[in-house]
């Protein structure tokens, strides 16, 4: 699994470097804006509990306890700091059912920095997000953990302003307790969203 992820990351990086060197015309100016609506499935990747040094990879009972597929939707607004880099915020809603039928929901609120090396009709945005998520579970418990994300994909603009895209990446959600009585409950969740998006740019 790790090997696969490494290979995919390398391929994406290579594609970005090649594309940016082949086609480096800029579309955006300082102050340009992007507004994106995103929806798609989100898959549990790993769940680590530190107290028993356990990492489950995938979904299912005895692994991460999640059903294989959840859902995610978000709204993003960004403004360009320079022709290649946009910064803004994203708010989303994600849900994942557990194997026992309970529901885990996340409301990620994050600052999002996007670098777009390839611009024009086709774009390859690379985004890093950092913020918080309001996480709750239907059988009791709520938490506001840090939330970090990496995302990339491809957008195709069928008009000057409107584009559709497909993206994926990884979320990192640490649930860390600083009270010594609860430190044994520290855990780290990673998830993989696979989304379709509609972007309006100006």
């Amino acid at each position: 699994m790790k090997q696969k992820l490494k290979s995919i990351s390398l391929l994406l990086l290579l594609a970005v470097v090649l594309c940016s060197s082949l086609y480096s015309a800029t579309y955006y100016d300082n102050g340009s804006q992007r507004f994106t609506i995103t929806a798609g499935p989100v898959l549990p990747l790993t769940l680590t509990t530190f107290s028993d040094d356990y990492t489950g990879v995938g979904s299912g009972e005895g692994v991460t306890g999640f059903e294989p597929v959840g859902g995610f939707g978000s709204l993003t607004y960004q403004m360009f700091l320079n022709p290649y880099v946009a910064i803004g915020g994203e708010i989303g809603y994600a849900f994942n059912y557990n194997v026992d039928g309970t529901l885990l929901t996340n409301v990620p609120m994050q600052f999002k920095l996007t670098y777009i090396p390839l611009q024009g009709r086709f774009e390859i945005p690379i985004s890093l997000g950092l913020g918080f998520s309001y996480m709750s579970v239907s059988d009791g418990g709520a938490y506001l953990p840090f939330f970090a994300s990496f995302e990339t994909g491809i957008d195709w603009y069928f008009t000057d302003n409107w584009g559709v895209g497909v993206k994926s990446g990884i979320w990192v959600i640490p649930e860390l307790y600083f009270q010594s009585s609860k430190s044994s409950q520290n855990a780290l969740l990673t998830m993989v969203p696979i989304t379709l998006s509609v972007t309006y740019r100006s």
Partner: protein, 356 residues
Amino acid sequence: MKKTIVILSIILSLFSLSSCNLDNEGILWRNIDRTVSDNKNRKFIDVEKNGNSFYMITENGLEKGTVNGSSYSESVILDSDAFTKFFRDFGIIYSDETMIYLDYVESDMNFYAVSLNEPVSIKPLSYEGLDNYKLVDCYKKDDGTVVFLGSTAEENSTAKLFTASYSADSGMITFTAIEGSSIPNFVTSYDGLIYADEKYTYEGNTIKIKSGEKNVDFAFDDVKSFTTNGTTNGTEIYIIRNSDSTFYVYKGQTGSAQNEILVEQIATVGGSYSRSFPSYCDGEYLYFVDANGTSSASRFITIDVTADEGNYEEPSNNGTSNGMEAEAIFKIDRNIYVLSENHGMFQVQGKTLKQL
């Protein structure tokens, strides 16, 4: 703008690191232990005589489960057409090879003899001796005698206890009322059947425990359920749930004087959710599973019946599954098992449960 972002980040960080996380049990940490709810809505019937199996009615029909120490063989469907699971139905193993099952169709009682030699056969029985009594439950006494409890109506009726004799040849089950077992003002609740014995009667808001000519009464505002657990060392345990969602656990012991019974309260367990539940006492500990009223978390409670009042344990990491409801707790060989309605089979290991 920058200032706003900084202030917002600081506020969110403080939330993240403090108040929001104080009243919480690890959300993700709990996920590893989550198990699939199989939602078979099992209805336990009885444990096999001299064997490792037990019988139940599920959505799949009549099933047989087998345990062997810490292993559980998923149940075998003996008859997929057998009976419709209904809250008033019940069955009991009457002899080594025969189970008696009562299947209610609306208010009509239909008795069946189930031959347990596989493949099982199910034959309807005619019955006599109940007059206008409708059976509400049955149980097996320590000597193996099967006792049936019947009442004339659901509320404020008279209840009686019956023994039964079954004849395979005539296809008839004959009930005989136990002399002196008349229970006035009997109230049957769908949620909390009363497990009565010749020694225990229920009248109004009072549980009467009779030992010879001696009576001990418990008076409560609103008795919701009452169950007894016979033990092997002369001690009996009574569990009463009051209207304040508290279970009161009493221990009754034979006193020094003839026909004297000494009753003392040994534990109160508050915040209960279930109005009735199965329990098991092995003479040293009393076990039962209750659901948390504010979440779907379940709790497994162990009470040391040999100790003084208040001695009970309820470990937070108790091995139960969320939303688990116990259907039966029983002993096979030296092991105690919990059959859940909707989350499979568990074995009691110390003060916790282990899913099999």
